[in-house]
Symmetry: C3
Subunit: 196 residues, 3 copies
């Protein structure tokens, strides 16, 4: 992986703010003004909108749209067809009753996915939430509340069902908070964990 941005011949990159080593695959579209860091992977049919902010080393799998108002910190993983939102009560701007709501940006709600977190395939992330560092949202989960650091959230509505290591494996639900894979150790910190 060199210092250039790789843009597949069938992809569209209209942004001048894409970092070195990032790869943009077929039928993906990065809009003008979108900010994307280094060494990211943007899968087929993904879409990065003007106003989106993507850190370094972020993996965006196929079919993911990253809208205005969404921030993905470094080393986030976004699974295929995970869906973000940025308007809690969306209406067509051509609905005369709703025109006033869209006269400025007050409809826009922000979403932040913290460093190293993972969003599962086909999950839905309600706007306004923050997903904590190294948290993991299970496939198909619906997140409508903030997710603590290192928490594993699943279901509808998404609930904390355990905790995961920074490496991705589940932490034991009883006894010492030590990863059976990489050996990292954790301790409680607020509603989430922190690495010792």
């Amino acid at each position: 992986m060199g210092s250039e941005v790789f843009v597949h011949p069938q992809a569209l990159n209209e942004s001048s703010q894409v970092g070195a080593g990032t790869r943009i695959w077929a039928f993906a579209h990065v809009m003008k003004g979108a900010v994307v860091g280094e060494k990211c992977n943007i899968g087929d049919h993904a879409f990065i909108e003007t106003g989106a902010v993507v850190g370094n080393g972020v993996i965006i799998k196929n079919g993911v749209g990253v809208w205005e108002g969404v921030t993905l910190e470094d080393a986030v993983f976004v699974g295929p067809f995970a869906v973000f939102t940025n308007d809690r009560f969306p209406r067509s701007r051509h609905n005369p009753h709703a025109v006033a709501r869209y006269k400025d940006d007050s409809w826009l709600e922000h979403t932040t996915i913290r460093k190293g977190a993972s969003l599962g395939a086909n999950s839905t992330i309600m706007c306004g939430v923050t997903v904590g560092q190294y948290a993991m949202v299970a496939a198909n989960a619906f997140v409508r509340e903030d997710v603590p650091d290192f928490a594993l959230v699943a279901g509808l509505p998404g609930r904390v069902i355990g905790y995961v290591c920074a490496c991705g494996l589940k932490l034991p639900s009883t006894g010492a908070l030590r990863c059976s894979g990489c050996g990292a150790e954790y301790e409680s910190a607020g509603k989430g964990l922190r690495m010792k």
Copy 2:
């Protein structure tokens, strides 16, 4: 926005029945015979199939497929990756046991989204239902029954959890049915509401 149809250089428009001022964005595909009204916005990677009917001022966000049998009335909003269906018991036509079911169009079920309604991101709309005027389907909801006018439906299965104003804001659950945003007033009408 002029009187022409805007078709992004990377989009495909094969229909001659697309209204003035409608915009079709990158990697979207409008098939021959699809009917699309004026001033619509058809997002990246959307797909409008032959036999679909889309009114005026409809917003179709990224990745939405509007199939044969689906009708979207004026000023509908379809959130990103909302999914329609048109066959309740789908099988491959190459499954020899199912060939007889596909010898005509009896497998096809229609879906109607009434004027001004909104379908949330990643929601799923079962074929055969009607979503009422200005109703709102929450993100990730699964709709398998008709939705009353102005109802807010969420969850799996989708249930009415409140009512919304034509402008999009939630109406108070107690007291007068008056929108805190735009001031519109409502009264009960069947299972839904109507504007006074």
Copy 3:
């Protein structure tokens, strides 16, 4: 339908292992090394990854990604925006804590969809499962356990709520296991059924 592979001018087919009569529609992408049988239909915006194996007569609707590790047997139907997975605990490979987990393919879990089965629109299939012959996964369902032959699975988590005929119709929940449509008869076999 002839003996050639049809590749839409806006599609990408990089595989030399696609069978006769298969059609690949606009903005779909079949990667090098993907194996696809005869007479398949690969819808707009679908994606078939290197390492995926697709049988004959398989219908892959719009927006479906078939990843490495996924096998679809003959005459399977995959509804629009059904989502597969192949990594239970995904992380960005640029997360330094996770690098060791991606040094080989031990993260990869396989999924098999048996002959004639159907996966509903916007369903999510957790990696590691097998969906039995002629089973049907309802729209929006989340499958995280094996599905018996001819079972109908719905909800979150997906549960068996009945049985379907090979032709696709629901079988009666009481009395003889005989399809009201095609007349096929069934008997119990393990957790599922088999045709008499």
